[in-house]
Amino acid sequence: MSNFKENNMGGDSLHGKCHDKKFAVINPTRMCQPMGAVQAMMGLKNAMPLIHGSQGCATYMRFQLIRHYREPIEVASTSLSEKTVIYGGELNLLKALKNISEKQNPEIIGVMSTCLTETIGDDVNGMIKKFKDVNIGKNLPAMVSIPTPSYAGSHVEGYDKAVLSLIKHFARKMIPNNKINIILGNLSPSNLAEIKNIMKDLNVEPILLTDASENLDAPLTEETLELHKFGTSLEELRDTANSNATISVTKHNDSGAKYLEKVFGVKSISGSMPIGIKNTDAFIKSISDAMNVSIPKKIIRDRGRLSDVLVDAHAYNYRRKVAIFGDVDMVIAMARFTHEMGMIVEVLCVGTESPRFKKDLNELIDDMNHKPIVLENKDLHDFGMVLESNPVDLIIGNAYGAQIANRFNIPLFRVGFPIFDRIGAQRISFIGYNGGIKFVDAITNTIIDFYYDEEGYKFADKKLSFDTQSFETHI
């Protein structure tokens, strides 16, 4: 008898289960490419994202970002309307570039395309060139075209394309800088801050792609309403070509790293998201190897503290069944961490499909000696259906999981994007040893709150009572 479930539903049998829904997506777990690109733009200093499309694209994406981060968020729109769709969006884009250059005057304008402008065939690069040509000699912002057709891929690819476009546009070979590039993905400001802390501890100077740690968790000041004063700068983007290596902590966001490797010989390392013991160990090791630095006592003590809290919490978490949904790289790393905590990873659900996720999953299954039910390219409807016949103790995912958690009367531990029904989404931590400590504390307390009485006992009366009626009296 092992942790293997007898009648476990592997990929194939699951398709049978969901046979009645082949086409429609109900309650999606992914967003579109421009959203991911905007998330990446949020981590730039003195930059303005511009969405070339209908007003709704910019507005609804801002709406989601604002209610998640609880910060004012600026995304400009080219405000296309019927006429511009017939004659092309050129005039609107040129006007937008002019207006942004004159008004906010940022250092960088990132132009995201949308399904609409890609379909009508707007040549954004050509339009940017035209704008530059008529303004020769003027000090214009750098304008980067980020092609993000919303009908392909998901927000994960959107982030990837934004980082790639920025690197392609800016990276220039100069003198080696002895820095390390880190491509992050859409992580909370607290998680980003923890990456920076680790780098400080290791005495390594990073270039973060991109660094929204200050911008999306800003103090109460008017300055927040202006262009972002923090984040990755244009100079840093330029300097990415001169770093020792690029580490992508979200594997699916490593196109920029691959480009730097191919064109400038900057080594690319695509690792797992540093969540939990094993993944953080691997992250620290790859930096230590790439930068040839030794690991300081501070980091060893942090690791020891995470080990300590895992031991403190183990009795509450052991064999608790958990279901996780969200972005590929987060889900797989979070699954490993909950396994490390002693939980049983029962169900995983991601909105996309990728061979790298499958590979990571197989590694995880080998280590766990247990095969979870995995939903790839699925939605929260499918997720709920699976939980119907495979009950779990806890769901980990974004705020959209609340309806499902409610249905099964189990707690939802909120991570990911968007989280609009609780405060502090900016400060959710799980990255590195220190983030891991906060995570274990919080998730264990969630379990105690839900499954134990107010004195901390496990509802002993129900567990210990027995029924004498069922006794066998002939002995």
Binding site: K21, F23, A24, V25, I26, N27, P28, R30, M31, C32, Q33, L50, S54, Q55, G56, C57, T59, Y60, M61, F63, Q64, I66, R67, R70, E71, P72, E74, A76, S77, S79, S81, V85, L91, N92, L94, K95, K98, N99, S101, E102, N105, T114, C115, L116, T119, K130, D133, V134, N135, N139, P149, S150, Y151, A152, A218, L220, E222, T224, L225, H381
Partner: protein, 480 residues
């Protein structure tokens, strides 16, 4: 500010209206005429024009406008025919409550991908509709067109027709391509048209009475309808349905039996009431259940319409009892809120209808604006605000910030996108859109409203967060 050119296209630039006085805030020349002061530079702000490209617009798209009108229908499914983003950014955001079915809270998409863009998405849409019908057997499936489904020319009308034949379920096309118009009000109308063409007038009402009414343009955000419904029921009125808050398809299909339509959100739904008047000869009455006197006036006007002695008597009893202790209960809040100033930047309707409500709290509206207002909206605003009030059309986030900084009101009433602009400026904020947490309608709702406004304006947090001089000096030292 440096001048840049967009080449020969410059000649197409929209010619700004001349403003005789200094601009109210620093913004684009073409935008100056959209901001005015009552009895000041302009009689009305320029409005209903395409947005300025490159600004951070607070407006949304036609698809959003249609969706917002229809989303509260509780037993319907809402299928967005487009790439995933159109659905995943807009599902379950309406904040409208249901006393029954929760189907409307699902976010459905036909998930158009690259292949569908090339070969057309009609087949996938059809299959998606069949999927949804099999799974949930909804009262209706609304199918929304998006920018891309419009551009690739998918004929959602005929797909819906075909699917309706097969499933026997109402499958209703909503032709809401996002780019259609700069004004999302167009989307509201498209949503209303979907109801007029496919739902209203399609069933038989078994027991019609002469007191049957509809509450049009009430979306039950945070449960508003539940503050209005008991008032009207007490009067002896029989509410066939609200359109569309906490409603069911079956009820809306009988809406044509009403003897009167009362219209709460006139911005989105007057269109529907007017069309029903034309088609079914149902008169309509503009009402407003936000505020004490507005609620009393609305009740009085409804009673006058029915001209029924018993109802008149009941109305008197209702108003007397509901307002008896209200002043006493409001006293505490009025004391704290007296003479505080308010900026309104919400939907067209609220920008005028709330002015009187704030006066009832002893507060003064000093700024009012809308994102998609039309001439008649601004005329109504001008009719109710005091001299010197700033009236603004389609303010982008930069302009809103500048206006808030210049006029420094104690409170901003707006939606989620504007919330943190106010809070970062240390200006109180109260959500009156989808994200609000209390019902504000009716007499009891007004008390809730007073509490929320009080929490936003009177909280001691604004004192707590003041930075002591010591830190400011320190900051200067650092700089020097």
């Amino acid at each position: 500010m440096k001048e840049v050119s967009i080449g020969k296209n410059d000649i197409f630039e929209q010619k700004p209206m001349k403003s005789p006085t200094d601009p109210i805030i620093d913004t684009f020349k073409s935008r100056e005429s959209h901001i005015c002061v009552k009895s000041g530079n302009l009689s009305l702000p320029q409005c209903d024009t395409p947005g300025t490209p490159g600004t951070v617009t607070q407006r949304t798209c036609v698809f959003g406008g249609a969706r917002i009108v229809l989303m509260p229908i509780t037993d319907a499914l809402h299928l967005v025919h487009g790439p995933i983003g159109c659905a995943s950014c807009t599902w379950d955001i309406r904040g409208s409550k249901s006393s029954g079915s929760k189907l409307y809270r699902h976010g459905c998409s036909s998930d158009l991908t690259e292949k569908d863009i090339i070969f057309g998405g009609e087949r996938k849409l059809y299959d998606s509709i069949i999927d949804l019908h099999k799974l949930h057997d909804p009262g209706a499936i609304f199918v929304y067109a998006t920018c891309v489904s419009g551009v690739i020319g998918d004929d959602i009308k005929s797909v819906c027709k075909q699917a309706e034949k097969i499933t026997g379920c109402r499958v209703i096309p909503v032709e809401s391509e996002g780019f259609q118009h700069h004004n999302k009000t167009k989307g509201h109308w498209i949503g209303c048209d979907a109801l007029l063409d496919h739902v209203i007038g399609t069933s038989v009402h078994e027991n019609p009475t002469k007191y049957d009414i509809n509450i049009v343009g009430e979306f039950n955000v945070a449960g508003d309808l539940w503050g209005i419904r008991p008032l009207l029921s007490y009067l002896g009125l029989n509410i066939i349905t609200a359109i569309t808050g906490d409603s069911k398809i079956d009820d809306i299909s009988k809406a044509h039996y009403a003897k009167l339509n009362i219209v709460q959100c006139q911005k989105s739904s007057n269109y529907l009431a007017k069309k029903m008047e034309k088609k079914y000869d149902i008169p309509s009455l503009k009402v407003n259940f936000f505020g004490i006197s507005s609620t009393i006036n609305s009740i009085t006007e409804i009673v006058e319409f029915f001209d029924d002695d018993e109802m008149k008597m009941k109305a008197e009893v209702l108003i007397t009892n509901m307002t008896k202790n209200l002043d006493e209960e409001l006293e505490e809040y009025r004391q704290r809120l007296k003479n505080k100033t308010v900026a309104l930047y919400a939907g067209g309707n609220k920008s005028w209808s709330l002015v009187r409500s704030f006066e009832e709290l002893g507060m003064e509206v000093i700024l009012s604006g809308t994102k998609n207002g039309m001439k008649e909206d601004y005329e109504r605003i001008m009719g109710v605000v005091k001299e010197g009030t700033v009236v603004v059309d389609d303010a982008n986030s930069d302009e809103l910030m500048k206006l808030l900084k210049k006029y420094n009101p104690d409170l901003l009433i707006s939606g989620a996108k504007e919330k943190y602009i106010a809070l970062k400026l240390k200006i109180g904020f109260c959500d009156f859109n989808h994200d609000r947490i209390s019902a504000f309608a009716g007499f009891k709702g007004f008390l809730e409203f007073a509490k929320e406004v009080d929490a936003a304006v009177s909280t001691n947090v604004w004192d707590t967060v003041k930075t002591p001089n010591f830190f400011l000096k320190n900051d200067q030292n650092c700089k020097s």
